[in-house]
Structure formats: structure tokens, C-alpha cells
Symmetry: C2
Amino acid sequence: MTHSVKLTFKPENRTVYVLPGTPVVEAAARAGITVETPCGGQGSCGKCRVEVLQGAAEPTAEEKRMISAEELKKGIRLACQSRISKSTIIHIPLESRFSAQKILTTGMETRKEIHPSVEKFYRELPSPTLGKSKADLEIIRQAFPQSFKADIHIIRQLPEVLKKSDFKVTCVFSDGELISVENGDTAKDSFGISLDLGTTTMVATLLDLNSGKDLAISTKMNPQVIYGDDVISRINFCLNNKKGLDELHYRTIEAINEMVEELAQVAKINPKNIYKLTAVGNSTMQHLLLKISPENLGSIPFSLAVKEGVEVKAKSVGIQINPQGCLCVFPNIAGFVGGDTVSVILAAGTYRNDEIQLIVDIGTNGEIILGNRERLLTASTAAGPAFEGARISSGMRASTGAVEKVVVGEDVEVNVVGNVLPFGICGTALIDAVAGLLRVGIIDETGKICSQKELKGKVSDKLLRRVVENESSRDFLLVEKEGTRSKRPIFITQKDVREVQLAKAAIAAGMKILMKELGISEEEISEILLAGAFGNFIRRNHAKQIGLIPDVVSPKIRFIGNAASSGAKLALLSRRLEKEMGDISKNAEYIELSTRPDFQEEFVEAMRFGKQSG
Amino acid sequence: MTHSVKLTFKPENRTVYVLPGTPVVEAAARAGITVETPCGGQGSCGKCRVEVLQGAAEPTAEEKRMISAEELKKGIRLACQSRISKSTIIHIPLESRFSAQKILTTGMETRKEIHPSVEKFYRELPSPTLGKSKADLEIIRQAFPQSFKADIHIIRQLPEVLKKSDFKVTCVFSDGELISVENGDTAKDSFGISLDLGTTTMVATLLDLNSGKDLAISTKMNPQVIYGDDVISRINFCLNNKKGLDELHYRTIEAINEMVEELAQVAKINPKNIYKLTAVGNSTMQHLLLKISPENLGSIPFSLAVKEGVEVKAKSVGIQINPQGCLCVFPNIAGFVGGDTVSVILAAGTYRNDEIQLIVDIGTNGEIILGNRERLLTASTAAGPAFEGARISSGMRASTGAVEKVVVGEDVEVNVVGNVLPFGICGTALIDAVAGLLRVGIIDETGKICSQKELKGKVSDKLLRRVVENESSRDFLLVEKEGTRSKRPIFITQKDVREVQLAKAAIAAGMKILMKELGISEEEISEILLAGAFGNFIRRNHAKQIGLIPDVVSPKIRFIGNAASSGAKLALLSRRLEKEMGDISKNAEYIELSTRPDFQEEFVEAMRFGKQSG
């Protein structure tokens, strides 16, 4: 077992441990930072520049071509080329990252402006005089050309705030509604929060609505996990407990309020100046957030209570931002294709492109998106759980103690999250392992772990010794429990390999069905985007090797990281994109794979490893 | 003192006591029933037919001309002609009444339909199937061509109600919003309430929104009266008590909820099927109803917090009708010209007429409206309090024990509300008394009560004995405290006459200013409408005699009773009229009399009794 090296990324100060030889781009992904690699990591575009602050590796030929000698001397490297050899600190500049702000500021022409639905205007209003007395609200109306709604709660505040401010106020509008009237000029204090409400993890980002910049980020375990790991157990909790829905809802709101408070403290702002929160998640999470029963999402025909986006006053669900601030929850596409998928499409821009994109987002479900501006297809497969550790003998999430990378050579090398003793294996390492074992022939094309007898002379002795013979099948010993190497032995069992086959077959067959529905071949796909935290960590060659994603040339494959979260930021920063997310939800087609007669056929076909037909 | 006779009106079963010889129309007004007299009570139009159920008076010549012999035999009479001689029961048919329903059903062409903003539709919806699953809200959207809003509270109910009802539901829309989805066909149960929120009295009427019919009525003292009789004392209570606004607001809501409950019980309906409440009052009452501080209405420049109409969910202010039902509060015109004036204009149709109407509504303030479809002027005078008993030596409201009518002949005859011993005098009787004393010369043109010496030989001895000489002035003894005649002696003092002069001068001068502003003379006024409970009781000749209203021929004068309440019903029953009330508020001009340099001049001129110049 090789000793891992410690990497710290600036400016976040996030630390990860990786095997020596790991490319910077991969290490960054493990730290949750998605570096843009438009050329697919070929070192040919020079867009992934980073600054290695101590002891940078020798530059590669590509780096020498793309980076000046002077810059090389300063430690500038390409994240896709430079490999880690020892513990160091690396600064990743904003320009090299995949981000919402970048989409808005450097994306296509029409997205150039930050133009949120929340706007603040300072006005010195005329005060009323006898005979020419105007109503308070009327005075404000006359100061703005556009018509707007005004809630009773705002009207109630007008007499006092106008008097106190001597009619010098800042008016805050959100989507055609006057939501706040503030004493004096507060126009510069305009904030919003984007919330990625994952089944497991919640990520809230505080944004400055004037500049579009991230100000602070807060992460929390979704408190619903104590009621079960997956959406089905949450739905069942609602079905089986009279107050179940209320409980899941209020726990979530509580956690959101803690994040709001934390964000405001870190950024030193007043939560009253947070006027909007955009939230995105799968449809069950979004229903629970709005205290809408998700019960119909748990059984056939898996129907939503609401598909369209929902806007409510944040306070009406107990979220403590500005009292008139709004909570904007993304629209869904179908029961299993939720707001998170709409958000990914929004961030990736699929719905505006002429060229065809394929997006795979492997979270708890595996969502597949295929299409362009003309037609957009979506599907969902139950592929996720295996890659999240479910049904895998030593499976676990990618948290501390998880083997997250496996390198199969003469022997097996592993890297462990948090640099501790391993006690399980997460999805990315499982793919590494299966791909590696497939490559050396320990696993054959049918997915069978071959016997020592079959393998003798074909693989190294070290590897051969790891094949453990059982009664009717074989397992592969990945990490021994021997001395201090592991808390328990970690195997890739024959059953584990079957689970990987089922999962990858589900996704691969889903893609095939969507391609067939769209009437295109693999070659017509201009790029493949891997979204989600998991997608971010996958080593693309391994994913291609096991047939999880089509075997296309690498430049066609891009990681877009937590694109759902990016979409939530976009909707917060641009009223136009907020509107477009509604169009995406309306126009995207949902293909129910289980009702397609050809799905089973494709599924069986895709169970095999190696080059797929079609 | 003549003995009063008892009259009962059907179908309300309302009882009043009146002096023998009182016309039926006047007695009905005292019972709160406004009989339409398009000809001004000349007996020439035949529109005020009533049925005298026992011992009808001999028909007059006019009645013989307008009514067939057969009908006369059945007791059919004209309310304007027939006079009461003894206790009896009279049925007043709907056709003879001034009512909102009549405006809608028999008014001008464009008003013919009852078309409320609340609509109910029964639908049998398609249930979702796998692969063609639609979201619950989407299924409802597809059943209706028009787009609509749907609140989160409704969305939350959808999964359960659709399942329970097997997708057979009644959808309730209000003003473009889906406000209720009900199990099965409930389309026939559609109700609304119109609320006349007076400073003193609250009147709530339950209406069937399908037929437009009144179903029940509930009346209550405004609970705010314990904080003071007039709006100024209520405003001061808010200013001087931290929780004053909350207290006034919640007391009012409490009273409204009691009325809602009573109405629902009487009509045997479920309050959940009441979907809308339209409320009208002066601007202070409307502010308090919405828990908006009225403090700026108490001091110069008397500005409103909100002028436009306000719609809120009824539950947001605690009103217990359908949880998504709405409270619709009328728009105002100015600080002292509130929603009640808008409502009067709506009911009278002034804003649609070619001919010029003058409307006088004497409540706590005296509101004056003058104009037509081209231009509409409004003003407010502080005339009301005197006619409501304030600042009058024996003044009181027209409640039990109040002298409500005075007939000056050889001696003085009075009628008392409730047929009990009198202990005060209300506004109508005050006008009767002043007009009567003016006619016989006891009061001269300057308003002076003449001395016995001056009057000797000119008036009857009985009247002369009632003039009481003081040091520098004289009072007139209206009712003696002698034996059982009265609990205390009731005087018309010299000061009382001055108060009447001030009040009538304020109104008369206000009218003059409005006429001048509009550039018209008295002759160009096509009709004078007397609105409000007080206006309903005034005897028009006496009002003309003291100069409270212009001295025009009687057919030009119509009583329109509680027109504010009628307007609230109209807005409830017709979405078009509801919209038009917004236009009235926007277009009507408010003339601030106190800032007009010519007002004082007109005011001094109008202090005199007798024919005014101009």
C-alpha cells in the first residue's frame, strides 16, 4: 500500500489525500472543485491553469507548449497534466473552474448579464401635503414606471418607514412585487441563497445579487437521513407516520435556517437582506421542502403532486430570510426526474444548443438526459444505489475510511478518503477495481471472477493470491485485514461484480433507448457531460472500460460537477434563466424505461462487459 | 302626545312604531327598508307597490289611478301615498325595493348578469397511469382552458382529495386563482358575504353567488365603540397604546367571525363554502380591518397608507371562511372619502351616467359626490356628528328612546324609536324640529330662537309656552318631564340650533364648491340621492327647508338607503363591477374644502336659513 500525499486547495483551504501520481484535476474533484477541461484533459486548450504553491512537478511537454517559461517557474501548471508527487498546496483560480458565475459572465452572448429577479432602488420620495395628499403606497407607485404587487405586510410598514426615513427609502422588488421598503439607501445589500437539497447532503451558497459572486458556502447532512438513506424510506416514513411529513419538513427547514444563520455570520450580512432562496433537489426532496406529501412518488404510477416550479414566501414555510423574501423551488419533469435534472439542463445549456449533448447524473438515481434545443429526452434508472454503496458487500459512501481509488498493476494500490485505515469501498473505487480486474483478465466479459486455475500464468502472483475460491464462485480480496492495513478485509465479491453489471447495464440501456427514441447514433453525440459529485470523481477511462459511458474519445467527455447547484445559482442571478427553467420542465420529455418493450433486451445486452453493439 | 301605532314589515318581520298619518315609505325606511320612489313620492310612477295585510287605508286618487280595483281590494297600495292609521302588517315585495340584486338584474343592459369572481366547476378528471403520469396540479390545469394561480396550500391538498374523490372534484376559482378543490360535485354551494363596516354598526349579508340572492343578514355593534364613538378617538387610541392597533383590529375580526358563524347557522350552510368577503367602510375602518395603522389619518395632511383596494386571504387576518377565501377591501378616494363613498358611487352608477347626480351621504362625516361619467368630484365635511347626536344638548343616535320625528302644528307631536319614553333626540327629529320652528317663525332666518315677546300673537299658545327664556337667549322645550311623558325634559337649545346651522352650512357650502368646481348650476343637477341610514330617514321637505339639500322639486330627490352596503354586494356578485370600483377610486377627484379660499365665504353665507343665493 503506497503512502498517500496531502494536498491543500486554495482559497478554500480544502485538504484531500491522494495517491502519488494522481492528476491535479482528479484531486481537485475529490476536494469538490470542478476544474474545466474543455479539451477533455488532453493538455491542448490550456484552460485548466492552476498555481502549485510549493514544489510543482516537472512540466510536461504539453505544459511547456501552453505556459511561458516564466510562469512555469512561478508554479503555473495545467491541472489535467500535472501530477501530484508530494504533499503541496495548490491555488485554483476562478477562471479555471466550472461555475455559475462563469456561465453568466463568459458564456454565450445572451447570458452575459447578471440580472436577478430581485432588484433594489433608492428613491427620495415627495412627502404629501394637505390637498395634494397621496396614499403611502401611491407615492411609491408613482416613483416607478412599472406596475407591481404589494402585500398587506408591506403596506402595514409604510406609514412608519416613510415617516422614519423622511421619505428616503430603498424599495426592493422581486418578480413584480414590492417586497421590502427600507430606511435610507441599502441598495448595495442584496443577497440570495442557492440551495442544493440532496437526499444526503445539503449545500447552501450565499450570493451577492449585485455582483453575482459567491460570498459563503455552508454544507450540512440532510437531517432526513436519520429516517432512511434513500427517498423511498422517506416516503414510507410519511406513509407510516401521521406526523411523518411534518417531521421531515420541519427538520429540513430547521437545518436550512441554521445554514442561513451561518452564511450571514460568515459573510457579516443581515439575514433581512437575503431576499430569495432558490432550492433544487429531486422531486421527493422538493415535495418535502414544500410540505407536500410525496406519497404518490412511492408507488406506481409515481405521480407528482406538482410539476411546475413553486414560489412561496420563505416565511410561509418558516425560512428566516427577509420576511417577504421568497423560496423558489425548481420545477420537476417527472416523478423520478426532478428539479435537480432541470437544473443540470439549465447549467449545461442543453436546451439552447444545436449540438446533441448526453448528460449522465449518477446520484441516488441515475438520470440520463439526451438532446438539444429541438428535442430533449430524460430518463431515470435505479443505478445509483450500487455506486453509493448499497447492496455491495463492503460498500459505503465516499466518506472518511472509504477506499476511493484502486490502481490494479502488479498488485493493488488503494487510496482512502481522509488518509485513515479503510473499512469500505465507495463507487468510484468499485469502478476502478472492476475496470482494473477486467483489464488484467481476472473478471471476464460475462462478469465472472475467474478461478486461480484459469488465471495461473496470466496475472501476477500477487494478484493471483487475492482471488479467493468459494464453493461455486470466487471473490477478490482488495484489502487484507492484516496488522494495521484495514479494520476488516475488503473484498470485491462475485455478487458485487453482478451489482456493478446491473447498475451499469441500467444506465447503458437507458442511454440506448434514448438514442433510439431520438433516432441518433453514438457518433452524433457531440459531448458527454458527467454531472453530480459522483460523476466528478469517476475516472473516465475506467467508466468507459466497464461500459458505464459510451466509449468515445476523451475530449468529448466533460465533468460539470454539481451542475444542479450551478443551475440553482443561475436561476437566482438571472430572471431570464429562472423563466427558462420553466420551459425546460414543460418541454423535456420523460421516457418511462420500464414500459418500453425494448428496454429489457438492451438491458440484457448491456450486462456484458466490453464493447457494446450499436 | 299622540299614541304611536305599530307596524310590522314582511318578510323580515321588522317592527317599528310611527305616528298615525306617517307614509308607508317613511315607516319602511325607519325599519331599514328602502322603497324605490323613482317619481319622488308623487304617486305617478306606481313603482312602490306594497301589500297592506290588515285594514289598508282608503286609497288616494293617485292609487286609484295606478292600481286596479281588484288589487286595491286585496290591500295593494303605493308606499309613497298610503298613510298609516292603525297598527298593521305590510309586505314589501322585492320589486319595490332598492337593492343590489335589482341593480344587477333590472338595471342597465350591461349589468344584467350575475357574474361573480368566484366560480365553481365540477370535473371528472383522468387519473394518471404509468408512463403517462401527470402531476396532480397539471391534471387540473389541463381540465381548464384558462391559466390560473395555485397556492401551496391547495397543492398540498391535491394528492389526498384526488385520491379520495377518485378524481371527481369541484374546482373553485377566485379571480384567476384555484382556491379550493372539493370532493365530488359541490358547485351549488357557493356563497359570499358583503360587510358594511360602519364606525358604529356592522352589517353582514350572506349571498348565494349562484342566484345572487340574500340568504341571511347579521347586524352587530362595531366593538370598537368602547374605544370611542368616532374615528378620531379610534385613531388616538392607536397612537396612545402600543397594542392599540392590534386590539381594535382583533376585536373587529372577532365580531366578523361571530357574524360569519351566525349567518352560516341561519342559512344552514358550511362556512367553508363562503369563498369571498367584500368589506366597505370609511378609510379608518378599512385600515383597521387590515391592521394598517390609521395614524396619519388623524392629522394633517390626513394621508392614507393605501388608497387602492386590497385583497388578502381572509385567513391571513383571521377571518374564518374558506381557508383560501379572500377578503376584498374597497379602495379609498382620500383620507376622509373612503371605500364607503366608492361603494355609494358604484351602487348609484354615477360614474356611468351622462346626467349629473348629486349624492349626499351623511354618516359620521358628510360626504358629497357630484358629477357624471365625465368628471366625478368628492368632498367631505365634518357635518355628521351633530346629526348623530354629538354636541347637541339632548342628542343621541336613532336607537330606542330617541325622538325620531317631530311634527310642529298647534303643538308639538313626537314619535319615539321603540315606542318607549323618550330621553333624547336624534338627527332626523332635530331637522324636523328646526324646520318646523322655522316654518312657524319661532326660529328666524339668522337661526335665533325668538323671544316670547316677539312671538306673541304669531304662534299658538301651546307653542309659545314651550319657549323658555334664559339670560341672553332662548331654548325650546320639545318634551316635558312631567308625569310619565319623558325621563327628562328635552330641549332644542339655541346652541343646538347653531350646531344644526354649522352642520348644514358645511354641507351646503361643500355642495356649492363642488358645483362651482364642476362649473354647473343647481338646475343642471338631474337628481339628488340621499344615501346612508340617516339620509333614508330625513324628511325631504324639512331638509330642503333648513337648506341641508338644495330646494329642488321632490321628484329629483331619491333615497338610496345604505348604498355603501349595496355597493359591497355588487362587487361580490359582479367581477366587472368589482373592477370598476378600482376605476372609481382612481378617477374620482377629491376636493379638500379647507384649502379652498372660497369655502369660508360660502360657509358663512350658508349659515342663514331660507333660500340660499347661487
